[in-house]
């Protein structure tokens, strides 16, 4: 067990080193969520009566800011696994596989690095949100919010690493990512209250772990409980999702990398 922790940290360290050396990517990846919060946040500002009807007093932009924080986490972590493909193509993977390091540790190290990077990106988006006038009733809430973002991204990066380990080509990987990323975001209360969704959509949304994470962050950020989901259920779903993804990713990754690429 000790050795798995050590190995995970080795890969984590390597991924972060690589991230640090590619700083230009940080800004590029911020553009999309920044557009969401600035443009979409203002386009829909007239929907205020709708969100008020579910008990939310503030402006629309404050309602959707938690959604954009999660959007940043979703996309940073779901793209994060792509270097698994490069590692297999350019030999780093074989180097790791022929060393005594455990296979699961490679996947877990990647996931934890991606999750930290996603949290960094999300914190920058929180900064942008604050700069354009979104307010926090309780600024200390930022600590549990970051905790939630890290946990959520850990689980979500598992999807990415699993897909990258299974996909044999970049094309397949990007195809799968596009198939998953946007719908998971859209089928959540990130932009629109859960109560106002048509029934059949609400049912789908309730099967989506993104939904619970958004509700959780929204509650912490604005103090308004929305969607009729108790907070402990949201927390339980989030933990369940992360544990499941850690298990699935370790298993699939180990199985896939043992096959020739």
């Amino acid at each position: 067990m000790n050795s798995i922790m050590y190995d995970t940290y080795t890969i984590f360290w390597r991924e972060l080193k690589r991230y640090k050396k590619s700083r230009s990517g940080v800004l590029i990846r911020l553009i999309q969520p920044a557009i969401w919060i600035i443009v979409v946040g203002n386009i829909f500002s007239e929907t205020q009566p709708l969100i008020q009807s579910v008990g939310f007093e503030g402006e629309y932009i404050e309602f959707m800011a938690p959604g954009v924080i999660i959007l940043t986490a979703i996309f940073t972590s779901i793209f994060g696994g792509v270097n698994t493909l490069w590692d297999r193509r350019y030999g780093f993977m074989n180097k790791a596989l022929t060393s005594p390091i455990s296979r699961s540790a490679i996947a877990l190290g990647k996931m934890s690095a991606i999750s930290l990077i996603a949290a960094l990106q999300a914190s920058l988006i929180i900064g942008i949100a604050l700069a354009i006038g979104v307010t926090f009733p309780n600024p200390l809430m930022i600590i549990p919010i970051m905790g939630i973002v890290i946990l959520f991204s850990l689980g979500f990066s598992g999807i990415s690493v699993t897909l990258a380990a299974t996909a044999k080509s970049q094309e397949t990987f990007w195809g799968m990512i596009n198939l998953l990323g946007m719908p998971l975001f859209m089928l959540s209360p990130a932009l629109f209250p859960l109560e106002l969704l048509p029934n059949w959509l609400a049912v789908i949304a309730k099967l989506n772990p993104v939904t619970y994470t958004v509700l959780l962050v929204r509650e912490l950020m604005t103090g308004v409980s929305e969607g009729g989901v108790p907070i402990w259920i949201s927390i339980a779903v989030l933990f369940g999702f992360v544990l499941a993804m850690v298990a699935v990713t370790s298993y699939v990754f180990t199985r896939e990398v043992n096959k020739p690429f």
Binding site: R14, K21, K95, T98, S99
Partner: protein, 339 residues
């Protein structure tokens, strides 16, 4: 749990076979590599060299047969195999954006080198490959030869019992290649490890290896030291080009009767005679040819090289029709893609 018995062979295989569907990449290969030996697998692209190496380094499971590396079974005990091997891949795998030292640090951690030893080990290999002064530069600024050296250094950090080098000098210019050979020899004397390498360069095999296994079409054709292989062909080679004649077969039969000639390769109108006492053989050749009315276009006398050894065992040159054929397929593919 390291074995107490002193092992005599670092690599031991028995009827090792690997097939991918219908294609048999490695076909019933059995051999052993002695402890401390530099052993080379020589063969053209697609001969099964890399597949064999991937089995030895636990990246592929054999279809059947057995392979023991440093006494551990690659199938049953891959973890112990991995602890005892260093593997330097054909393509350079160093992280470009990390510095040389950071790359070695990563490699040390991957190989579970105790924390308090990491720095001395890194200093040791950096000095060996003469990169100490460049260690804090990003690898992206290194030349191809320097990257390769760094990659090789990474395979040495944990003092493996067996070092695997897959085509260590492919794609490097001849001067850099010579330099890498020097480093490999230096490593071998300094660490006293067994080195198993694959190559398709004759010169490399000749220069580095104590013994060579010639592999072609997934099968080992011969294993011996480079000297013995060359000596087995006699110490001289006579190549002659003759004009077409109906007495061609008769000519060959007569040549075969000359006692010094050990072997004749007949490539249509180009004959290669492996022989000794070349100066005595040549007048006899002229005698026979004039008797049979065969015109000799050119004739030359040379010392055998490993190239000749390769041809004599496989019947074709190391970069032969096969690769040309592949190139044709590739070319056709590209054309179709562009259209």
């Amino acid at each position: 749990m390291p074995k107490e018995i002193e092992l005599l062979s670092s690599i031991e295989t028995k009827s090792l076979t690997k097939s991918f569907g219908d294609l048999v990449a490695v076909n019933d290969v059995s051999f052993s590599v002695k402890k401390g030996e530099i052993f080379g697998f020589l063969g053209p692209n697609g001969a099964g060299k890399s597949t064999t190496m991937m089995i030895f380094t636990t990246l592929l499971k054999p279809t059947s047969g057995k392979a023991l590396i440093a006494g551990f079974d690659v199938m049953k005990d891959p973890k112990h195999v991995r602890e005892n091997i260093g593997f330097v891949q054909q393509e350079t795998t160093v992280d470009e954006y990390l510095t040389g030292r950071e790359n070695l640090l990563l490699q040390s951690k991957l190989n579970h080198i105790p924390k308090n030893e990491i720095n001395t080990r890194i200093d040791e290999v950096l000095e060996l490959i003469e990169l100490s002064d460049k260690q804090h530069q990003a690898v992206v600024t290194y030349s191809g030869g320097m990257r390769k050296r760094l990659d090789i250094a990474g395979g040495l950090l944990h003092h493996p019992k067996v070092l695997f080098l897959d085509e260590p000098t492919v794609g490097l210019d001849i001067q850099t290649r010579r330099k890498i050979w020097q480093y490999i020899k230096k490593i071998h004397t300094e660490f006293e490890m067994t080195i198993f390498l694959t190559t398709h360069y004759m010169e490399e095999a000749d220069n580095l290896c104590d013994r060579i296994g010639i592999i072609d079409g997934g099968k080992i054709q011969v294993i011996d030291s480079p000297e013995n292989m060359k000596n087995a062909l006699g110490n001289e080679i006579i190549s002659l080009v003759i004009e077409n004649s109906k007495n061609h077969d008769l000519f060959l039969a007569e040549l075969n009767k000359i006692e010094f000639i050990k072997k004749i390769n007949d490539e249509n109108l180009k004959l290669i005679l492996f022989t000794s006492n070349g100066t005595e053989v040549i007048p006899k050749i002229f005698q026979i040819s004039s008797d049979l009315g065969i015109k000799i276009v050119t004739l030359s006398l040379t010392q055998p090289t490993l190239d000749d050894v390769f041809i004599s065992y496989t019947g074709h040159e190391i970069r032969d029709d096969k690769s040309k054929f592949n190139r044709k397929i590739e070319h056709a593919k590209m054309k179709r893609l562009r259209a």
